[in-house]
């Protein structure tokens, strides 16, 4: 849900945030007193304190950063239970299990005794590479793999040292086995017995990590640590936050983004039992809204529905999707900045020509847990409970609204019911709104925590969409399918302009998230012109970001060239990959082999479709079988070939690929589009913004290319190749390419 950005180019805004993160942590959580804090939390004996006294003294001398201190990440109870703290938001992707697996591997823990808990705003839980509190870009396992291995190895070394001291033997004579230290002559001690002594020992800086061939936890298909809680209603999410005297707010948002109130009649709303206050508040994009605060969601929603509001929309742009598409078509013919260039002279004389236009709509994320944020205000500080991917950004934004310093805003990151990008917003829109509500409520004399909760309609209508895009391509190629020149134009809003990422991700007027996934890995001679119109519709990354549209364009066009020149689409791609892209080849070959492509006879009416795409450093290839039922495309079977280097938890990789693919399928279904008329979003709920149901789920097999290389991301890469593979199969069947999402069969 983040672009693949280069951390060496991190701009001042992010550097500042890093600094704030550091200072916030030291201000809110003095490192030396953590032992007491931990004790107060009931974690007295047998735990690694945040920094044991001995370590605190020479913490600087040891050269270890907070992100490298095992005391912040692993606690061992006297009964041997190991609790691993995760530095990320868990919102379905499985890091809450994957990260503990990595640490437990090097700790040599007994997996059945491993638990997990959420980190805090402490500096220990910053992304070790980016230096901010962040979950996104399929980076969690990728960026924390070595970090968590080293943490586990350090803790293990400390336990071994404690055992050596207890038995007065050379540490070299000791070994570990699933949570037990084994000594010479059969002596043994559980980690739980040794933890208290171990925590007083110095933290080793250098540790030797295991050879991946000796892994016994990493690489094993492992059930999620939260599987039981999530199968019994016992898992709490942000929406389940319940503080004493807590109130709930529902906000009437402007029907057109950024509109202001002309008049408010709240008499009927105030008359509803349970309604405590009706508050006029500033909302996103300079607009205004009205919050109804009540002692529960139902009276708050009833109150909001009873408001009589008139809006002033004269000064805001009222977007109309059809008109916007016409404008995009016009813009596509204009000169503009180029992401890359090539000689277009061969176009005119190329033996074969292909002209294509693609249209992609706005898309809502629609995570199942509606957006919410609970805010409690005190005299000079605030506490927030929220499922967010970017607690640092949000805390800074909250502080701005509340007139506090960022270090006086405490973020309690909650398990989130999905996100797909919606929980990391440059403007922190729903967090800022919740703070504005809490502030107004406090001013109105309501001294209680307030949970601001969005309805599904608020979510679908309330903005932050994958931007609408138009692509236009003119390709010249020869009879062998060699591309001689490819002139390409992309029109769509920039996601990153106006965010902290703009200064290093938007260059020469081109947003890197709009072009990622173009040209490569095929190395075609492409000239790419990009237009980023300004439109009054808030836009955001959506699982796999730019690849949601670029993969579709590239993979369907390449397939069309193969079909036009009578080449097998797999053989054609393999030839283009050459020797330069072994991971693409391996992923595609695996999917081909496992699917029976080219060997198996398909039932009448079914065809094969193929696509392969790299995003977030992982490659996913799909070989699909599809057909038409009553003239509508049906995806029957999917075989995935995945190259994510080492799969830490293959069971989780399978889940992520299936889930991402389903979201890719969601782009194809009739009704999977957000459209606007007169500035108002036309869809409102799952009845008119269609998402896949179980009846849309194809037969699905996931195969992973074996590898011992450090893992790459898997939260997003399963999405991009699904829609083009499906489209390629249908095009094969109908003889007509599909160039619009959702699919339109003429």
């Amino acid at each position: 849900m983040l672009p693949n950005f280069d951390r060496t180019e991190m701009p001042r805004a992010l550097q500042n945030m890093r600094d704030r993160g550091q200072s916030a942590a030291s201000a809110t959580l003095p490192r030396r007193s953590f032992l007491k804090l931990a004790g107060a939390g009931g974690l007295a004996l047998g735990t690694f304190p945040h920094l044991a006294t001995a370590q605190a003294k020479d913490a600087t001398a040891s050269g270890l950063k907070p992100t490298q201190q095992p005391s912040a990440f692993v606690q061992i109870a006297p009964n041997g239970e190991v609790t691993v703290t995760i530095n990320r938001l868990e919102f379905g992707q499985g890091v809450q299990t994957g990260l503990p697996m990595i640490l437990a591997e090097e700790l040599d823990a007994d997996w059945s005794l491993v638990r997990s808990r959420n980190g805090s705003g402490d500096a220990a839980y910053l992304d070790p590479l980016f230096g901010i509190h962040l979950t996104g870009g399929s980076n969690s396992i990728k960026n924390s793999y070595t970090q968590y291995r080293e943490l586990g190895a350090r803790a293990r070394a400390m336990l071994l040292a404690a055992a050596a001291a207890r038995w007065n033997v050379d540490v070299a004579t000791l070994r570990t086995q699933a949570g037990i230290v084994l000594g010479p002559d059969g002596r043994k001690a559980g980690y739980g017995e040794l933890a208290e002594a171990a925590m007083a020992l110095p933290v080793p800086e250098k540790v030797v990590l295991k050879n991946p061939k000796d892994f016994r936890i990493i690489g094993q298909p492992t059930t999620r640590l939260d599987a039981r809680a999530k199968s019994s209603g016992r898992q709490d999410f942000g929406i389940d936050t319940r503080l004493p005297d807590q109130l709930t707010a529902v906000v009437a948002h402007p029907p057109v983004f950024g509109a202001k109130l002309a008049s408010v009649d709240d008499s009927a709303a105030r008359a509803i039992k349970g309604v405590k206050a009706v508050l006029r508040i500033p909302v996103d994009r300079g607009g205004e809204g009205v919050a109804v605060v009540a002692d529960g969601y139902w009276p708050a929603k009833q109150g909001r529905d009873a408001l009589k509001l008139q809006w002033s929309t004269a000064s805001v742009e009222k977007v109309d999707s059809e008109r916007l598409l016409a404008q995009y078509r016009e813009l596509a013919g204009q000169p503009g900045p180029r992401a890359f260039d090539a000689d277009m002279a061969p176009l005119a004389s190329a033996p074969r020509q292909l002209l294509a236009e693609f249209v992609f709509p706005y898309l809502a994320h629609a995570p199942m847990e509606p957006l919410n944020c609970t805010v409690q205000l005190f005299d000079a500080r605030a506490e927030l409970w929220v499922g967010t991917q970017s607690p640092g950004l949000d805390a800074a934004a909250a502080a701005g609204v509340l007139g506090l310093k960022p270090e006086h805003v405490t973020m309690h990151v909650q398990m989130a019911g999905g996100g797909f990008g919606r929980r990391m917003v440059g403007t922190s829109d729903y967090v800022v709104e919740a703070c504005a509500v809490a502030k107004a409520a406090r001013s109105a004399g309501l001294n209680a925590p307030v949970r601001t909760l969005w309805s599904r309609e608020d979510d679908i209508k309330g903005g932050y969409y994958r931007p609408m895009h138009l692509h236009r391509a003119r390709i010249g190629f020869d009879e062998r399918g060699n591309v001689l020149a490819w002139d390409h134009v992309i029109v769509g809003q920039s996601i990153l302009t106006g965010t902290v990422f703009e200064s290093f991700q938007v260059k020469n007027g081109i947003d890197a998230t709009a072009t990622e996934g173009m040209r490569e890995p095929y190395g075609v001679p492409m000239r790419l012109t990009v237009h980023h119109p300004k439109v009054n519709v808030p836009v955001l990354w959506w699982r796999s970001v730019g690849s949601t549209h670029t993969a579709f364009v590239m993979e369907t066009l390449l397939d069309e060239i193969a079909r036009t020149t009578k080449q097998d689409p797999v053989a054609y791609r393999m030839r283009l990959f050459g020797d330069k892209h072994p991971r693409h080849k391996a992923a595609l070959q695996l999917a081909v082999d496992q699917s029976g492509y080219g060997k198996k006879q398909l039932p009448t009416g079914r065809t094969w479709g193929v696509a392969v795409h790299e995003s977030f450093s992982s490659v996913v290839a799909y070989v699909v079988e599809a057909s038409l039922r009553d003239g509508q495309p049906v995806l029957n079977r999917v075989t995935a070939g995945v190259h994510c280097n080492l799969a830490v938890n293959p069971r989780s990789v399978e889940a992520q690929v299936q889930g991402a693919a389903l979201m890719g399928l969601s782009m194809c279904l009739p009704g999977a589009a957000i459209t606007l008329k007169d500035g108002i979003v036309e869809q409102s709920n799952f009845g008119d913004f269609v998402v896949p149901r179980i009846t849309d789920m194809p037969q699905f097999a996931v195969h992973i290319v074996p590898s011992a290389e450090p893992p790459t991301g898997m939260g997003e890469p399963g999405l991009p190749p699904l829609a083009p593979a499906f489209a390629n199969a249908i095009a094969q069947l109908t003889g007509k390419p599909l160039r619009e999402l959702p699919f339109k069969i003429a």
Partner: protein, 157 residues
């Protein structure tokens, strides 16, 4: 005053009779296992049992539960319900959940479906799909939901 009979206990509520069961459970009784997803009976996240039938609690007022028994995820998976226990075990075994938010509703739909089957009846794949089609999972856990329901059928056979 309204009376609500939930998981074998009777509660007296000072709430508008039009209040959906969902909000009486979540905001008044503090039972948060039942989830809010759409408020319009479109996604199934709020599924509970009313006299054994799967219903969408986000659109069913507490007045409709007068004299009836409500069953929620908390009781369905606490070991006291034979079918619910089998469904819970299958959900864990197949590692169904990703974000997990919709799974209370999925499990309640699956449990009601399995209870509705005539003794000895083994549902087809299409029947399982039809029974679960009212529950949306945005994470896309459907393949594992299918496997888990089929597995629970076996356990209960």
């Amino acid at each position: 005053m309204s009376k609500l009979h939930v998981n074998g206990r009777e509660h007296t509520l000072d709430a508008d009779p039009a209040t959906p069961i969902l909000w009486a459970l979540r905001d008044t009784l503090g039972m948060t296992g039942t989830k809010f997803g759409c408020g319009a009976a479109l996604c199934g996240a709020c599924t509970v049992h009313l006299d054994g039938q799967a219903i969408r609690s986000c659109v069913t007022p507490i007045s409709a539960a007068e004299g009836k028994k409500i069953g929620t995820i908390e009781a369905t998976t606490d070991g006291s319900d034979r079918v619910g226990t089998a469904v819970y075990a299958a959900w864990v075994k197949h590692d169904v959940a990703q974000c997990g938010y919709c799974q209370s509703g999925q499990i309640m739909s699956a449990t009601a479906f399995l209870k509705s089957l005539p003794k000895g009846k083994k549902p087809t794949a299409a029947e399982i799909d039809a029974a679960m089609a009212g529950n949306i999972c945005r994470c896309g856990t459907y393949a594992r939901i299918r496997a888990a329901v089929a597995d629970a059928v076996k356990t209960l056979a």
